[in-house]
């Protein structure tokens, strides 16, 4: 069992959790992920790591309530325990002194992006952060990102805060010399950033979280096409070259269980299952 040491609501429906998992905390690195399962009936869900505290023996994840499992996770309190937590999984992000690193994150993925931005900063890079959300009230980790970025831009889909959309990146990419770009967030965000950096030849790393089951290379649910080759995001990734990823296929595969997810959610909302 893995205890929830801290739970903090960052904005409505987005929670930060610190789980007690000492062995994982010692090993896990930015870019890696964990798989957790709430209880005996639960599904296994992958969550990208947003931090680790070796002294406290905790790992941090941030989770958006979008379906049954994430909603159930959101209903747990500090002191509650979940049944399973497996990690570290996947390969860590490559941290080196590249020069200037552009870190773009959207939605809940701003939290794991922060963990990476911090590492890039500590490795001596100049970090330009771009964080986004659907709307101002959904924006997370702004001050945390400010602490580790040399510059920080904010963008929202509806323009309620900062830039409206990511179009402003076009000018930024023209004006500045960027040595590497990192994009994390919804598939459309990663796709947009990859398309914008492509003409400038900036190596762009995207962090993919397709549907997964075991997370250790056994099932192939997470297969993605990268440069015409099939890769497993769980063991070959989750980071891939954004200029090579078949995002259309990824989007179709992410919707594979949409009807079942809806059914499960309704079932849960109607109290079909107690916690």
């Amino acid at each position: 069992m893995y205890k929830i040491v801290t739970k903090r609501e960052l904005v409505p429906h987005i929670n930060l959790f610190e789980f007690s998992a000492k062995e994982v905390a010692v090993k896990i690195k930015p870019g890696q992920f964990v798989i957790l399962r709430i209880d005996e009936n639960g599904e296994r869900i992958p969550l990208t790591i947003a931090g680790a505290d070796v002294e406290k023996g905790t790992i941090t994840v941030v989770c958006h309530e979008v379906g049954k499992t994430t909603k159930r996770l959101g209903s747990l309190k500090e002191g509650d325990r979940i049944l399973d937590l497996l990690g570290p999984l996947g390969k860590p992000v490559e941290i080196e002194k590249f020069g200037t690193v552009l870190c773009v994150g959207g939605g809940v993925m701003v939290a794991p992006l922060h963990f990476q931005a911090k590492a890039f900063h500590e490795a001596g890079n100049k970090v330009i952060g771009v964080i986004g959300a659907r709307t101002e009230s959904q924006l997370i980790f702004e001050s945390e990102m400010r602490d580790v970025c040399d510059e920080l831009c904010v963008a929202t889909d509806d323009g309620t805060k900062g830039y409206k959309g990511l179009d402003f990146l076009k000018d930024l990419l023209k004006e500045r010399k960027i040595d590497r770009a990192i994009a994390m967030g919804p598939v459309v965000t990663m796709k947009t950033v990859s398309e914008l950096t492509r003409p400038h030849g900036i190596p762009t790393i995207v962090s993919l979280i397709p549907v997964m089951v075991d997370g250790m290379g056994m099932c192939g649910a997470c297969r993605v096409t990268v440069g015409g080759k099939t890769m497993f995001a769980c063991v070959d990734g989750p980071d891939f070259d954004g200029h090579q990823v078949d995002f259309e296929e990824l989007m179709a595969r992410l919707k594979m269980y949409a009807p079942q997810e809806k059914l499960a959610f309704v079932f849960y909302e109607k109290g079909g299952r107690r916690l």
Partner: protein
């Protein structure tokens, strides 16, 4: 006048099974097991050949078959199971999933005049008899004061762990999944091997004194080298759990699964109880399962139970070359699975939403035997055709899990990714042993158990000298 010798019954005592019409609507066990009377009647057919009889020689863990069958005849069921457990720590599992027809039963003398003795069913009977009454836990031996780490809680790892703990070692098993059992929990379906039985046998091994640590993926959480700092020896039994795909166009369309994914969702995650259990699955109306092994049969039978209207097994050779057990092929046929022999997929066609809607196939004919001894399938030019499908399961085999090999410097590995060992299971690193599918490639539960046993013995010899 001496009593006339009772006539020996040549036919096996049949085991009751769930009716096919009913069983395709549930995941309950298909074979229901012998009653006491049936077990004794079957045991009475045994000729009690002199030791070591051919059945014992056919068993990878050398269960004393004649002795335990004699005890069943005498209705000493408690002694019979003890006799089995001297060699086999997972009898309820082996009684169900071992290919007895190729092992203990293959050279049964009765088999020359009639049906061989159904050793598997008898083993299952005594194991179930004991489990229903509660396990007797043998007394713990004196502690040796040495520790062994076992990587993987599948058949090889659990067997090695049980044997080592019985010798007095402190044993910790590291399992990456959330349940012990390996392929027994993620691969073999409930209707062939109920998971409560795997759970009970794993629990028995824990009661012997073994610690099983879940969610611990060696290679990620600890390396083998790190384990060697804490343990005196390491046994690697990580199995062959990686799915093979066909590498043909359209394979990543929605609705196409590896057999591993399909079965993990069904067995480990219990998707058949969705939405009480959270994990979803997609099952179409027209399902094609590619492959001819037990995993293909299992996938096809799961698809039927999950509501598919039509399930086809698409196999590139003919019935004779199918690697699945005859019993499993029969079960699948009884349940209505259709076989498309001498057929191979060439590609998948998707709809506008990225879902599979058809499969391009080609007919095959059999040519000369290949390295496996089976006749090689050769495509018949111009025989291409399209098969309408909305769900595909690819069951063409599994390869070794590469995690340990990739993260253990100095560990000798073959070009197939299996770990190189000597005849006792010793690897190229001192104190590190391996066995099961990670050494042989995909094989059987019992051969993995045999390898676990052999390695446990070798580890004991090594640690006694150390």
């Amino acid at each position: 006048m001496s009593k006339p010798k009772p006539k020996i019954r040549k036919e096996v005592v049949p085991m009751p099974k769930q009716n096919p019409k009913e069983r395709i609507h549930n995941f309950n066990e298909v074979a229901l097991g012998y009653t006491e009377e049936q077990a004794v009647a079957e045991a009475e057919r045994c000729l009690q050949c002199a030791y070591p009889s051919s059945c014992i020689k056919g068993c990878p863990v050398e269960v004393d078959v004649t002795a335990f069958i004699k005890l069943i005849r005498e209705r000493k069921f408690d002694e019979a199971i003890k006799k089995v457990k001297e060699k086999n720590s997972l009898p309820a599992i082996c009684g169900r999933v071992c290919p007895q027809e190729e092992q203990c039963q293959a050279n049964c003398v009765m088999g020359k005049v009639g049906d061989p003795i159904s050793i598997g069913r008898l083993e299952r009977f005594v194991a179930d008899w004991e489990r229903e009454r509660g396990y007797e836990i043998p007394q713990k031996p004196a502690a040796i004061g040495k520790r062994v780490a076992v990587v993987g809680a599948g058949p090889a790892g659990l067997t090695a762990a049980a044997d080592l703990t019985k010798l007095g070692y402190e044993v910790v098993v590291f399992e990456a999944l959330h349940k012990p059992g390996g392929v027994l929990v993620y691969g073999i379906p409930e209707f062939r091997l109920p998971k409560k039985i795997v759970g009970a046998e794993a629990e028995y091994i824990e009661k012997l004194g073994v610690t099983i640590k879940m969610n611990a993926m060696i290679g990620k959480l600890y390396t083998v080298k790190e384990l060697l700092e804490q343990f005196d020896a390491v046994f690697i039994g990580t199995g062959a759990g990686l799915p093979l795909f066909m590498r043909i166009p359209g394979e990543n369309l929605c609705g196409i699964y590896s057999a591993n994914e399909f079965l993990i969702r069904v067995n480990l995650m219990k998707t058949y109880a969705f939405p009480e259990y959270d994990t979803p699955i997609y099952v179409g109306e027209k399902v094609a399962v590619i492959g001819g092994g037990n995993v293909a049969m299992d996938s096809a039978r799961c698809a039927l139970r999950l509501g598919a209207k039509e399930v086809k097994i698409v196999y590139r050779r003919s019935r004779e070359e199918m690697p699945a057990r005859a019993e499993e092929i029969k079960n699948a046929e009884e349940e209505g699975v259709v076989f498309e022999f001498l057929t191979n997929p060439k590609g998948f066609i998707g709809n506008e939403r990225g879902w599979v809607k058809a499969m391009e196939c080609i007919r095959m004919r059999l040519g000369e035997p290949d390295a496996s001894g089976r006749r090689r399938p050769v495509p018949i030019e111009g025989s291409e055709f399209t098969m309408d499908v909305d769900n595909v399961v690819i069951a063409i085999g599994r390869t070794p899990n590469p995690m340990i090999q990739q993260t253990t410097e100095g560990l000798q590995v073959t070009r197939w990714g299996t770990i190189v060992v000597d005849k006792n299971g010793k690897t190229s690193i001192e104190g590190v042993y391996a066995g099961g599918d990670i050494v042989t490639g995909e094989a059987t539960v019992i051969s993995a158990m045999g390898a676990g046993k052999k390695a446990a013995k070798a580890i004991h010899e090594y640690l006694m000298k150390k």
